[in-house]
C-alpha cells in the first residue's frame, strides 16, 4: 500500500493518508509503546534507539537513528495522545530551530481496518522542503548535482499533489 501524500503548492503543509489492515487501537499502541515504535519508526537500515519517551501531554520524546558511522537525533513534545487527535512537535537536531507540528488521526474504516491521516504544519514552505532534505532522507549528503540519479528515481510515480 502506498501512502498518499498531498503537499499543496505554496503552503507549509503536508498531508498523508494510509490504510492499514489492523484495528485503530492496535495502531494507537504502535505509536505509544516504545518497544513497538522502535520496530517500525526508523529507516529499515538503521538502528533506532529511544532516549526519552514520555507519552502524555507536555511529555518529551527523543530518539536516534544510527548506523556504524553516524547518528541522527530527533526530539519534540507530545501535546495530545488521543487516538483521533495525536499532536506533537517534531525537530531534527541537525536542523535546529525548525520545528513542525504533527497531527495524526487514526480512524476506524470497518472490517478491522483503519486509516491514518497525518497533517504536518511547518514554519514555512522552505522549512517543509528543507526538513525533508535535511532530516528525512537517508541522512547521506547526496547533493542534487547528480540530476540523472534524480531522474532514475522518477521511473515510478512518486506521489500526488493537488
Amino acid at each position: 500500500m502506498k501512502t498518499v501524500i498531498t503537499a499543496p503548492e505554496g503552503t507549509p503543509f503536508v498531508d498523508t493518508e494510509r490504510e492499514f489492515d489492523a484495528p485503530p487501537e492496535l495502531i494507537h499502541r504502535a505509536f505509544l509503546e516504545p518497544d513497538l515504535i522502535v520496530q517500525w519508526l526508523g529507516p529499515r537500515k538503521y538502528e533506532m534507539v529511544i532516549d526519552t519517551f514520555d507519552p502524555r501531554p507536555g511529555g518529551a520524546y527523543r530518539y536516534i537513528h544510527r548506523n556504524e558511522d553516524a547518528e541522527w537525533a530527533f526530539h519534540g513534545v507530545f501535546h495530545s495522545m488521543d487516538i483521533d487527535n495525536m499532536v506533537q512537535t517534531f525537530e531534527f537536531e541537525g536542523y535546529p530551530g525548525h520545528v513542525s507540528l504533527d497531527q495524526l488521526a487514526i480512524e476506524d474504516i470497518g472490517g478491522g481496518r483503519s486509516r491514518i491521516r497525518g497533517h504536518s504544519v511547518f514554519q514555512s514552505v522552505a522549512d517543509r522542503d528543507g526538513m525533508v532534505e535535511n532530516g528525512m532522507g537517508d541522512g547521506v549528503e547526496e547533493g542534487y548535482d547528480r540530476l540523472d540519479e534524480l531522474l532514475a528515481k522518477l521511473g515510478e510515480p512518486v506521489g500526488t499533489s493537488r
Partner: protein, 136 residues
C-alpha cells in the same frame, strides 16, 4: 492544474524523462535531441512543448537552431523532496504493517533482529553526527 501536477504530468513520459537526462549534460537543438530516439523531430518538438509548459526546460534561439535548456528548479521542487518524503513514509508505514501483522498473530512484542531494544544508550544531547560510534 497546479505547477506540481503539471510537472508530474510532464515527467510521466519516459521519452520526456530521457530528454531531460540528455539536457543535463548541456543545451541541445531539436535535431540533436531527436537523434537517439526512433521518432520524428515534430514528435520530439511536441514533447519539448510539454516540458516547456511545465517549466522544466526553456528554449532560446542561437543562430538558426532553437536550443533547449534544462530548468532544474521545478524538477527539484517537484521530485527531490516529495520523492524522499514518499519513500520515508512508505518505508515506515510498510514496517508498521509488518509490526501490526505480527501483533495480530499474537507474537505480542516479539522484536525482530533488525529492530533494536530501546535503551538509554544515547547519552549525547547534542544530536550531532558522531563518527565511529559502534553499534551496541
Amino acid at each position: 492544474m497546479d505547477q506540481l501536477s503539471t510537472v508530474f504530468g510532464a515527467l510521466s513520459d519516459p521519452t520526456r524523462r530521457a530528454i531531460l537526462a540528455r539536457l543535463a549534460d548541456g543545451d541541445l537543438a531539436v535535431r540533436d535531441l531527436a537523434a537517439p530516439f526512433p521518432m520524428t523531430q515534430p514528435a520530439i518538438s511536441r514533447h519539448l512543448k510539454v516540458l516547456e509548459h511545465a517549466g522544466l526546460i526553456s528554449r532560446s534561439r542561437r543562430a538558426t537552431a532553437r536550443l533547449s535548456h534544462l530548468e532544474a528548479e521545478p524538477l527539484r521542487d517537484a521530485t527531490a523532496w516529495l520523492a524522499r518524503y514518499q519513500a520515508y513514509w512508505d518505508e515506515r508505514y510498510d514496517q508498521l504493517d509488518e509490526l501490526l501483522a505480527r501483533l495480530q498473530q499474537g507474537q505480542a512484542t516479539a522484536t525482530p533482529e533488525m529492530a533494536a531494544k530501546p535503551t538509554k544508550a544515547a547519552k549525547s544531547k547534542k544530536g550531532k553526527k558522531q563518527r565511529g560510534r559502534n553499534r551496541s
